[in-house]
């Protein structure tokens, strides 16, 4: 446990904690504005094969979930890189 405390108190530990806090905050904000963000994506077109599923019927952007999912999953890594580079520049 001492090792955990040591890591938390170290400069690196602070960067990790900062990254995770910022990521969590961004995720909450994105979830709050989820429906608004979704409307930024175009609704799907009914193609020449005239396929109608949930996405075409309710106008749910087809690739939105995939893009949003990957963004959320890799967000902590992206935030970590930014926070790390900023702390290095200081």
């Amino acid at each position: 446990m001492n090792l955990l405390l040591k890591i938390a108190k170290s400069n690196f530990g602070k960067i990790v904690l900062k990254s995770l806090s910022i990521s969590t905050l961004i995720i909450f904000v994105l979830m709050f504005y989820f429906k608004k963000i979704r409307t930024l994506f175009p609704i799907p077109e009914i193609n020449s094969d005239k396929l109608i599923g949930f996405a075409q019927y309710y106008g749910y952007p087809f690739y939105f979930d995939t893009i949003f999912f990957f963004f959320l999953i890799f967000l902590p890594v992206l935030v970590f890189i930014v926070v790390y580079l900023l702390s290095k520049n200081k």
Binding site: F34, D49, L51, G53, F54, T66, V77
Partner: protein, 669 residues
């Protein structure tokens, strides 16, 4: 003999695991024989149809067993093949133990992890889901073992890659969906291991690229070699062509099967998987790229599991399989927790206890929140007996008929009809028990998702013509499959053909029986008075975003066509309609809103015909300066040509109404 005994003695733990899991997984027999009886109505009928077609041989390979492949198709064929299918579970557990043994260095952690994993699969995931998705996970972990041993040297053995290619090809053809994921996984792992190698050697070395090309050829060669026997089987069945066209169908199915992922993200299973994935990616990134941590075997397996989960999540994003894939996250959690406790805790004894506590607590928190799958042991002996006597199908059909007596009543009624040729067509497609009960070869694309494309709906119509179908059953209790999109919207072209060519003849239970007729008016039938709710359901048409989407993407195509009237005043439109007998045939209604509409709320437009009947269309309004397009020929009431006399628009709607005459609706829905 001595060598064999020595080999057994050396690997006795694997043998024990294989034998133990063979007997402990016996409840899986229930699933092989009659597990699908747990499904409701349409799903149950689909399984029943698969079972029937497999036994009768009326459809070879892909046709009906999409997307589960040959392995599932043959499991009903005979007892020997059922037994081979049953072996999947014990083999998967044995391989999982093999991997665990390589990761967990102390016996306590190894046995705790394995037993815990087994109980997790038994209670939470269920054997059928494990048999399906476990194959992908176990083979991907084995590939990881092979690739990890090869990352230590710069030379990967060509023969090893050839064998990997053969395994890929075999899986791709035997279990199509898992095989496709495995190919995707293999490509990711191959690139990843190449990047790891490139860290050690000069990336620009010519040899490195030549070697990579050689290795890729070895994999591809193995892949195609292993497919040769399957191609011969396909040729024998006459399914060679359909095997390849099926990949186009898969894309179509993806287009119609997609449901929102984030609506289900708060399920316990999703939270469990996504939080582990989230942590694993962050943890491995910091460990490997920030600390330049040595790439251990455990790290390699963790990366492999992350890739596997990311691939599986893509299926979950299309259609939720959240609980089925939790066992993969559990393995990942175990590997990370074990590594972390070893890294952070000094005392050996404390490490094991803390590891056990972490896994138990994390899983129990999740485990308390999930609905358990049914593992009914009381059916075991009965199922075993049915299986050995080859009576599973008869038993399941009897179960279905007893619980759904109206199906037999309908068939009795039809058999009393003069000239009944023992063939029906059921709508919604997927109401398949009729085909089984009548011993009839079903339509090629029987499930509604695979039959959703325009081309495949036309194939269903061709089936009806070729088989001289005189009677159609309409199931009024099942109006949409799974995702609330009405079946008459999803298969609108097929539904139009049915309503225009068949007339209501009787109502039994939830079914309307239709008889072939010419120049009929479905909505004028007195029979519909018995199913008033269904009639109203077809007259109140919900199109949601379809008019918006059509307006957004296809108005340019429309605007150069024959305009009949453009008016801002609804009264002027109605006086025009009164004076001119406007036929509904080939008419397109375009609504050009002049106000900003509230998002989310639906507006309506009602159409009254000369004889005083009406139909109402509800849809999401378009924004200011956008157009919404309604194709009248897609509204059930206007499947038959009628004279439109009056239009009533929602009070919320302010703007222009344009009517077009489009003889060839072309790419419009």
């Amino acid at each position: 003999m001595k060598y064999l005994l020595g080999l057994i003695n050396k690997n006795k733990d694997y043998l024990i695991i294989l034998i133990l899991s063979f007997f402990l997984s016996a409840s899986y027999i229930v699933d092989i024989c009659s597990g699908y009886l747990n499904y409701y109505n349409f799903d149950l009928q689909e399984f029943l149809l698969w079972h029937y077609t497999s036994l009768s041989g009326s459809f070879p390979y892909k046709d009906i067993f999409y997307p589960y492949g040959l392995l599932n198709y043959f499991k009903y064929y005979n007892l020997a093949l059922t037994f081979i299918y049953y072996l999947i579970i014990p083999l998967l557990f044995t391989f999982i133990y093999f991997i665990f043994k390589k990761v967990f260095k102390d016996k306590l952690s190894l046995f705790f992890s394995f037993i815990f994993f087994y109980v997790f699969v038994l209670i939470i995931v269920g054997f059928p889901a494990f048999a399906r998705y476990g194959l992908l996970v176990v083979i991907s972990l084995i590939f990881s073992c092979i690739f990890y041993s090869n990352t230590k040297s710069t030379k990967i053995k060509t023969f090893t890659l050839f064998v990997c290619g053969m395994i890929l090809g075999l899986f791709f053809t035997v279990i199509n969906d898992q095989g496709a994921y495995l190919v995707l996984y293999f490509i990711s792992l191959f690139i990843f291991s190449k990047l790891l190698q490139a860290r050690k050697i000069n990336f620009l070395l010519q040899n490195f690229f030549i070697q990579t090309i050689e290795q890729s050829i070895a994999v591809l060669f193995g892949f195609f070699i292993s497919m040769i026997p399957v191609f011969l089987i396909l040729q024998h069945f006459g399914s060679f062509y359909s095997f390849f066209t099926y990949f186009k169908d898969v894309i179509d199915i993806v287009m119609v099967a997609k449901t929102p992922f984030f609506s289900f993200i708060d399920s316990p299973a999703n939270i469990f998987t996504v939080s582990i994935l989230f942590f694993a990616i962050f943890y491995n990134f910091i460990k490997l790229f920030f600390f330049k941590h040595k790439f251990t075997f455990s790290s390699f397996l963790q990366t492999s599991l992350i890739i596997t989960i990311l691939i599986m999540e893509q299926k979950s994003i299309i259609r939720s399989i959240d609980r089925q894939i939790t066992f993969v996250s559990l393995i990942l959690l175990m590997f990370i927790a074990y590594e972390l406790t070893n890294m952070l805790i000094n005392k050996n004894q404390n490490r094991k206890i803390i590891y056990i506590i972490i896994i138990t607590v994390a899983t129990l928190v999740y485990g308390f929140n999930v609905e358990r799958p049914i593992n009914n042991f009381s059916y075991l002996f009965n199922s075993y007996e049915l299986l050995t006597r080859n009576r599973c199908f008869d038993n399941n059909l009897k179960f279905f008929s007893t619980n759904n007596p109206s199906y037999a009543k309908i068939i009795n009624l039809l058999r009393k009809q003069k000239g009944f040729n023992n063939k029906v067509f059921s709508f919604s497609t997927g109401d398949s028990a009729f085909y089984v009960l009548l011993n009839q070869k079903p339509p090629y694309y029987n499930a509604i998702f695979e039959g959703a494309s325009y081309g495949n709906q036309n194939l269903a119509i061709k089936y009806m013509r070729d088989n001289e179908i005189e009677y159609v059953t309409l199931n009024t209790s099942k109006l949409s499959v799974q995702d609330t999109v009405p079946d008459y919207i999803r298969q609108g072209f097929l539904f139009k053909y049915i309503l225009n060519n068949y007339q209501p003849f009787a109502v039994i239970g939830d079914h309307i029986i239709l008889k072939k007729a010419q120049n009929n008016d479905f909505f004028a039938s007195k029979i519909l008075e018995q199913v008033e709710d269904y009639k109203n359901y077809l007259l109140d048409v919900y199109l949601y975003k379809i008019p918006h989407s059509e307006g957004l993407y296809k108005y340019n195509y429309l605007k150069n066509n024959n305009k009949i009237i453009i008016e801002g005043s609804i009264d002027k439109i109605n006086s025009f309609l009164k004076k001119n007998n406007l036929s509904s045939s080939s008419k397109i209604i375009v609504l050009n809103s002049s106000t900003v509409n509230k998002s989310g709320s639906l507006i309506f437009i009602e159409f009254e015909t000369k004889n005083g009947n009406s139909t109402t269309v509800y849809f999401n309004p378009c924004n200011k300066n956008e157009v919404c397009i309604i194709n009248l020929s897609r509204i059930p009431f206007f499947y038959k040509e009628r004279l439109v006399e009056k239009i009533i628009a929602d009070k919320e709607y302010k703007g222009e109404i344009r009517i077009f005459d489009l003889k060839n609706s072309g790419n419009l829905w």
